[in-house]
Point group: C2
Chain length 209, copies 2
C-alpha cells in the first residue's frame, strides 16, 4: 500500500492533525513525530482527553456555556449577580470577558450570530431562551457583548427588538479608541464613532476604582 511517510499509522495521524485549524501538513508531521519520540502515556493522555472532552461535555441549561454537568460554574456561583446578563456569541467570549474581571453578572451564550448570508436565522441561535430568561428571572440589564461586525450588529438589533417591550435595560459594549493605540493609527470609522459617542470626562473617574 502506498504511504506518504512509510507508515499508514503515521499518515493517518498526520492527516487527522492537519484537519485542525492553522495546522498545516508540515506542522502535523512535526507534532506526530514528537509524539512518536515521547512515552506512550503522553499520546494516550492527549488522544483520550480529546475523545472524552467531545463525548462528555455538557452545556449549561441556563446560559448554554460549556460545563461538565448540571449548571455551569458561573450560573451556580451565588456571588454572581443574576439580574445582569451578558450576551456573547460563543464559549470563548465568556473566557475572554471573564479574564477582564469587570463583569459580575451571568452570561447567555448565543452559539452564533444571525447571518442571512450563512443561512443562520434568529431561530438557529439561543435568542428565544434569552427572552424567556429575561421574562421569568427578573433580569434588569442585558449587556450585548457581540463583535462590532455586520453580523454582530444585526443580532444586537434583533435581540433589541425582541426585548424592547420588556422592563429591562439593554446596553452594549462601548465602541471607541483602543486603549494604548495611537490616535493616528485608529481607523476613521472608529474615530468618527468615538466623536459621536464622546463621553463626559468626569464619568471616567469611576472606571478604574
Amino acid at each position: 500500500m502506498f504511504t506518504t511517510y512509510n507508515s499508514q499509522l503515521l499518515d493517518n495521524a498526520v492527516s487527522e492533525l492537519s484537519k485542525l485549524p492553522g495546522i498545516g501538513e508540515k506542522t502535523a508531521l512535526r507534532l506526530a513525530l514528537h509524539l512518536l519520540r515521547k512515552d506512550v502515556s503522553v499520546s494516550d493522555a492527549l488522544g483520550n482527553a480529546i475523545i472524552e472532552m467531545r463525548h462528555n461535555i455538557n452545556y449549561c441549561p441556563e446560559c448554554h456555556n460549556i460545563c461538565d454537568d448540571g449548571r455551569c460554574s458561573i450560573c451556580s456561583d451565588p456571588r454572581r449577580d443574576r439580574s445582569t446578563v451578558c450576551v456573547v456569541e460563543n464559549v470563548k467570549d465568556v473566557i475572554t470577558i471573564e479574564a477582564t474581571h469587570e463583569h459580575h453578572g451571568t452570561y447567555h451564550v448565543l452559539g452564533g450570530l444571525v447571518s442571512p448570508l450563512d443561512g443562520i436565522s434568529p431561530n438557529d441561535i439561543e435568542i428565544a431562551s434569552l427572552v424567556d430568561r429575561v421574562k421569568s428571572q427578573g433580569v434588569s440589564e442585558v449587556i450585548l457583548a457581540l463583535s462590532p461586525t455586520m453580523e454582530g450588529d444585526t443580532t444586537n438589533f434583533y435581540i433589541y427588538r425582541k426585548l424592547a417591550d420588556l422592563p429591562v435595560r439593554i446596553t452594549m459594549l462601548a465602541r471607541g479608541l483602543s486603549i494604548g493605540n495611537e490616535l493616528e493609527y485608529t481607523d476613521e470609522l472608529t474615530l468618527g464613532r468615538s466623536i459621536q459617542n464622546r463621553m463626559l470626562f468626569s464619568d471616567t473617574f469611576h472606571n478604574d476604582q
Copy 2:
C-alpha cells in the same frame, strides 16, 4: 472544583494539547473549541489516530526507519540500490531527502546524534548496526547526510573512524551556497568553505540531467 475554562474536560484537553511543541495555551484552547463545534467523529478520529500510531508503530529492523510491520517500504523496494546507504539523524530526514528524488539507495536512521553535552554517546544511537550492515551486506558507499552542526560533525567523524578500514566509499552532503540565495547574504563561514571546496565548473553540467 476550580477550573480555568468552566469544564474539567476542556481544561484537560487544553492542557494536553498545549504540551505539543509550538502550541501555546491560547492555540490549544482554539483547537479544543474547534473540536467541540465539530462532529464527534472528528475528535474520535483524531484521538484514535494519535493513540494507535504510538501503540502500533514499528521500526524497520534494517534501516530503523518507521514502518507498519516487517521491513520498511524503502528497504523492501527491489528498485532501490542496496549498496548505497544514506545515513540520517531521524525519520523526518528520510522524508526530506526522499522529497528530492535524488537518492536511489537505502537509508540508515541513527535515531539521534552523538552529543556529549546531552549525554548521548555513540552507543545510544544506531552506529553499531550501521557498521554491521556495511560489513555483511556489500555496501559500497555510505553517504553521511547529517546536519552541518557540531553534533552532526562529531557523529560524522565517529562513523568515519568506525568505517575507515572497511572497503567502503564514505561521502557527505556538499556544503556551500544555498541555491537561490544572494551571495551577499551568505554567512562568512559557509562562503569561506565554499571557496575552499570550490568545484570544477564542468562538473556541474551533469547535475541537472
